[in-house]
């Protein structure tokens, strides 16, 4: 903030310095012209300069008015905070043209205004290449006029001709004032550049430091993620171990003990041993059921035995058989394979929706369709039931939504038919699931 203020102050001082030079230059020209005329030296002056002197009022009017416009433009440029790059570029070009105008109106005698504009534009232009372009133009402009690299076909009277009217002492005073102002302007410009670029250096250092910190934090976060995964794995393993110990361990222990006992009894009491073996078989069956139950807690068992397509066929057939509802099922044209969690979600949503249709809507017809488009699976279930005046908790819709949210999908539902529009009878549920990865089309196994 202080740096910006310093830069702003420097620009202001440069503006005043340039104004002083232009006023000084115009004053010398105009006043000297009239002094020459008053002392009847016009003819001699004209024969020494051999050029058309411009109308005395023309240079002050042109140069000062253009300079004023330049000042107003550079001031407004910062006030207006324009974002559009084209408008910004336009303003820069306008400023450059005004600068050339000022210098040309001073007969290319003084070109320090180019430095002022350069300082202004370097700060304003963000685009690096554009900045370089403007820099090049302005420096060339400044240098060509300042050091007279090429003498322009200039038909105006040189400033020195006006100075030569005065006595050597007065002349030296004037040239002294001039060089103080001109070199002051250059000095201010150098100061400005130093301030600007050291400021930019600091800014760059700060950004680099921040970047390093960010990278460190990122690495740490990755480590944490790995750690978390490992811990989750361990917890799950422990749970499974506990489960196995609780159910399978218990049952197997019983079976082993029973089997040992049966072995011992075989020769003594074969009938008793046979009973024992029967018990062992019974408890083995129960153990199996336990194992199944614990897996069932994780997955629907039909899905465990069949592919999704077959499981859905079975679900629909069973539902039709048990409820007598007419179900129109349009399966996917191509059998796709999904990740287990996706399969679970699809299965559960269809199961829940059909149950809802019968339980709450008393529907006699259900239309179920699956479509696959652009990696999105759409499940549409439409019934001809009563619909629902007020949705109540417990319809399982929230669970469906939660399931879908985990997969990044969406759920829409409502009365009527989506195709006919709301208000019609019946209820519809539409679920869209973005499938994570396009699976290879594979044969239905």
């Amino acid at each position: 903030m202080t740096k910006e203020k310093h830069l702003h102050d420097l620009t202001l001082i440069m503006t005043v310095c340039n104004l002083a030079i232009i006023v000084f230059y115009c004053l010398i020209r105009t006043v000297t012209t009239y002094r020459i005329c008053d002392s009847f030296g016009a003819y001699d002056f004209l024969s020494t300069v051999e050029a058309t002197p411009q109308r005395p009022w023309l240079i002050p009017v042109q140069a000062l008015s253009l300079y004023l416009l330049l000042f107003v433009l550079s001031y407004l440029k910062f006030r207006w905070k324009i974002r559009n790059p084209w408008v910004r570029l336009f303003l820069c070009v306008a400023e450059l043209l005004l600068c050339i105008g000022v210098i040309a109106s001073l007969n290319f005698y003084y070109s320090g205004v180019a430095l002022l504009v350069l300082a202004d534009l370097i700060y304003y232009i963000q685009h690096n290449r554009l900045r370089l372009l403007f820099m090049a133009i302005l420096i060339v402009l400044f240098a060509f006029a300042q050091f007279e690299i090429i003498s322009l076909p200039n038909h105006s009277v040189a400033f020195s001709s006006y100075l030569s009217y005065y006595t050597p002492f007065v002349r030296s005073v004037f040239t002294g004032i001039e060089s103080v102002l001109v070199s002051g302007n250059i000095l201010l410009f150098v100061l400005y550049m130093i301030l600007l670029f050291t400021g930019e250096q600091e800014e760059n250092d700060r950004i680099r430091k921040l970047n390093q910190q960010l990278n460190a934090a990122n690495t740490q976060l990755k480590d944490y993620a790995v750690e978390l995964e490992r811990m989750t794995e361990i917890r799950e393993r422990n749970r499974l171990a506990r489960e196995i110990h609780d159910t399978l361990g218990h049952t197997l222990t019983g079976i082993i003990m029973g089997a040992d006992a049966a072995l011992a009894l075989f020769s003594v009491a074969p009938e008793e041993a046979k009973k024992r073996v029967q018990i062992i078989a019974q408890s083995a069956r129960e153990g199996l059921t336990d194992v199944r139950r614990s897996i069932k807690a994780l997955r629907p068992d039909t899905l465990e035995q069949h592919s999704l397509g077959q499981a859905l066929e079975k679900l629909v057939a069973d539902f039709r058989l048990t409820t007598g509802v007419d179900i129109l099922y349009e399966p996917l044209s191509q059998p796709l394979t999904f990740a287990p969690d996706e399969e679970d979600a699809i299965y559960r949503i269809i199961q829940e929706s059909m149950t809802n249709a019968v339980r709450h809507g008393h529907a006699s017809q259900i239309r179920l369709s699956l479509t696959w488009l652009n990696h999105v699976l759409t499940i549409h279930i439409q019934d001809n039931g009563l619909g629902c005046v007020q949705l109540e908790e417990g319809f399982g819709l929230r669970h469906m939504e939660e399931r879908l949210r985990l997969l990044g999908g969406t759920l829409t539902y409502g009365n009527g038919s989506q195709k006919v529009g709301p208000g019609g009878s019946g209820f519809f549920v539409t679920a869209k699931i973005p499938v994570r990865e396009k699976k290879e089309v594979c044969a239905n196994d």
């Binding site: 012209t33 003819y43 004209l46 051999e50 058309t52 109308r55 008015s65 416009l69 433009l73 006030r79």
Partner: protein, 433 residues
């Protein structure tokens, strides 16, 4: 943009529009044409109403261009006219059309004050450059470009002291006389003891021009100081000076009637020839004028001085300015008035060789006039008069040459070798220009 920004923008637009209006007003073609006129005669001869011709032209111009006003500042003498004009140029208030004194022409062109006229002359169907005598028109040319129109021309003539010639029984020379005639008359008349001399004020440049030579090449790129015509001219003037046995003839000697010849401007002749001026000018002798004597390689030719009319290169009414300059320079009835109010010769053939004008000239000459200014003589003088080709740095180069020649003549050396060095210097100066 905020509210403040809108206000600023509005202010900026207002300033721009205001500035535009000011510029438009400042540069609009006005209805007032200004002209720069000097008072009195440039040729140093007494005149009656010096503004009469200009006033008549203005009256006619204003009646032909209703709504246009032509203005001039009166009372600027010929001596201060150059300075006045330079001041106006410096202040940027120079007139649209102004008279250009012959000696100011180069300076005004090189300072860019004069507009180029070639395009206007070509574009104007009512303007024919051939109506002018070529030497008069070409005096407004610098480096091949026309910058001014001729207004009035005055050739240099040789004044002859008729009384002195008659006293020596010498016949008045005619307009076809030569250097030999000139030299033999001077030899007969010169008698240092009696304080009688052949000629006063006849320079090597006068001799050069009548010897078919020029000092500089046509394009002004080289000096011809060691060329044959220049050499023989210097030698001829040296011979004439040698007759005086070292005595420096003065203008007083001529005024007292002791010198036979003196080069003078034609305007002097026109001004002082009619009665009573002729008696007032030289009461002690009768006088007459003839063309300059012809050299071996030249004719009866002299340098032509021409008053010019220029148009300001910054004029806001360039079209009106051209029309007015054309009226003054090209209009026959205006040009005719010159013979009543001034003493030059019109640069227009049709006017200078007009019977009425010629008879007006004859009327001024007492006695039979002996046809000294017949149509042929006037036409001859004007057609063959010499206009020195002008270029940048002409005045300085001429001064350098004159200094060098004066040095040679004073030393009495043979002319060629001492002039080689100055010629080299002048050529160097010209090449830098």
């Amino acid at each position: 943009m905020s509210r403040g920004a809108h206000r600023w923008l509005a202010a900026l637009v207002a300033v721009l529009i205001l500035g535009g209006i000011v510029v438009a007003i400042a540069y609009r073609p006005g209805s007032t044409l200004t002209i720069g006129v000097y008072s009195g005669s440039y040729w140093g001869t007494p005149t009656g109403d010096c503004y009469q011709v200009v006033d008549d032209a203005i009256a006619r111009f204003e009646s032909e261009h209703p709504g246009v006003q032509v203005e001039y500042v009166s009372g600027i003498s010929t001596d201060s006219y150059s300075e006045w004009l330079a001041q106006q140029i410096l202040k940027g208030t120079e007139p649209d059309v102004f008279f250009v004194l012959p000696e100011d022409f180069n300076l005004l062109v090189s300072s860019g004050a004069l507009a180029q006229l070639d395009q206007r002359m070509d574009a104007d169907s009512t303007f024919d450059p051939d109506a002018y005598y070529a030497p008069s028109l070409s005096s407004g040319v610098l480096e091949g470009r026309q910058y001014a129109l001729p207004y009035e021309s005055v050739p240099t003539m040789m004044f002859v002291n008729k009384t002195l010639l008659e006293a020596h029984d010498i016949q008045m020379p005619d307009n076809n006389w030569t250097w030999d005639d000139f030299y033999s008359i001077c030899t007969q008349i010169t008698d240092v003891d009696q304080h009688q001399f052949g000629v006063y004020g006849y320079t090597w440049l006068d001799a050069l021009y009548s010897n078919g030579g020029t000092l500089f090449s046509q394009d002004g790129s080289s000096c011809l100081l060691t060329s044959q015509p220049v050499q023989s001219s210097i030698r001829f003037v040296q011979q004439l000076n040698d007759l005086n046995e070292g005595y420096q003839v003065t203008s007083r000697d001529f005024d007292l009637g002791n010198v036979a010849f003196r080069p003078f401007l034609f305007s002097e002749y026109r001004a002082y020839q009619p009665y009573p001026w002729r008696v007032k000018k030289y009461s002690s002798f009768e006088w007459e004028c003839v063309c300059m004597p012809a050299g071996d390689q030249g004719g009866n030719v002299s340098e032509l001085q021409t008053m010019l009319l220029g148009i300001s290169s910054r004029s806001r009414n360039p079209d009106l300015a051209w029309e007015f300059a054309k009226l003054l320079s090209y209009d026959e009835s205006i040009q005719r008035e010159l013979y009543s109010y001034s003493h030059g010769i019109s640069p227009l053939r049709a006017v200078a060789e007009d019977d009425e004008i010629l008879s007006q000239l004859h009327k001024d000459i007492p006695g039979d006039g002996s046809g000294s200014f017949s149509r042929e003589v006037i036409g001859g003088i004007m057609n063959h008069a010499l206009t020195v080709p002008k270029f940048d740095g002409y005045d300085q180069a001429l001064t350098m040459a004159q200094t060098a020649v004066a040095k040679v003549m004073n030393s009495g050396e043979s002319a060629v070798s001492p002039l080689l060095e100055p010629q080299r210097e002048i050529n160097l100066f010209l090449s830098k220009n």
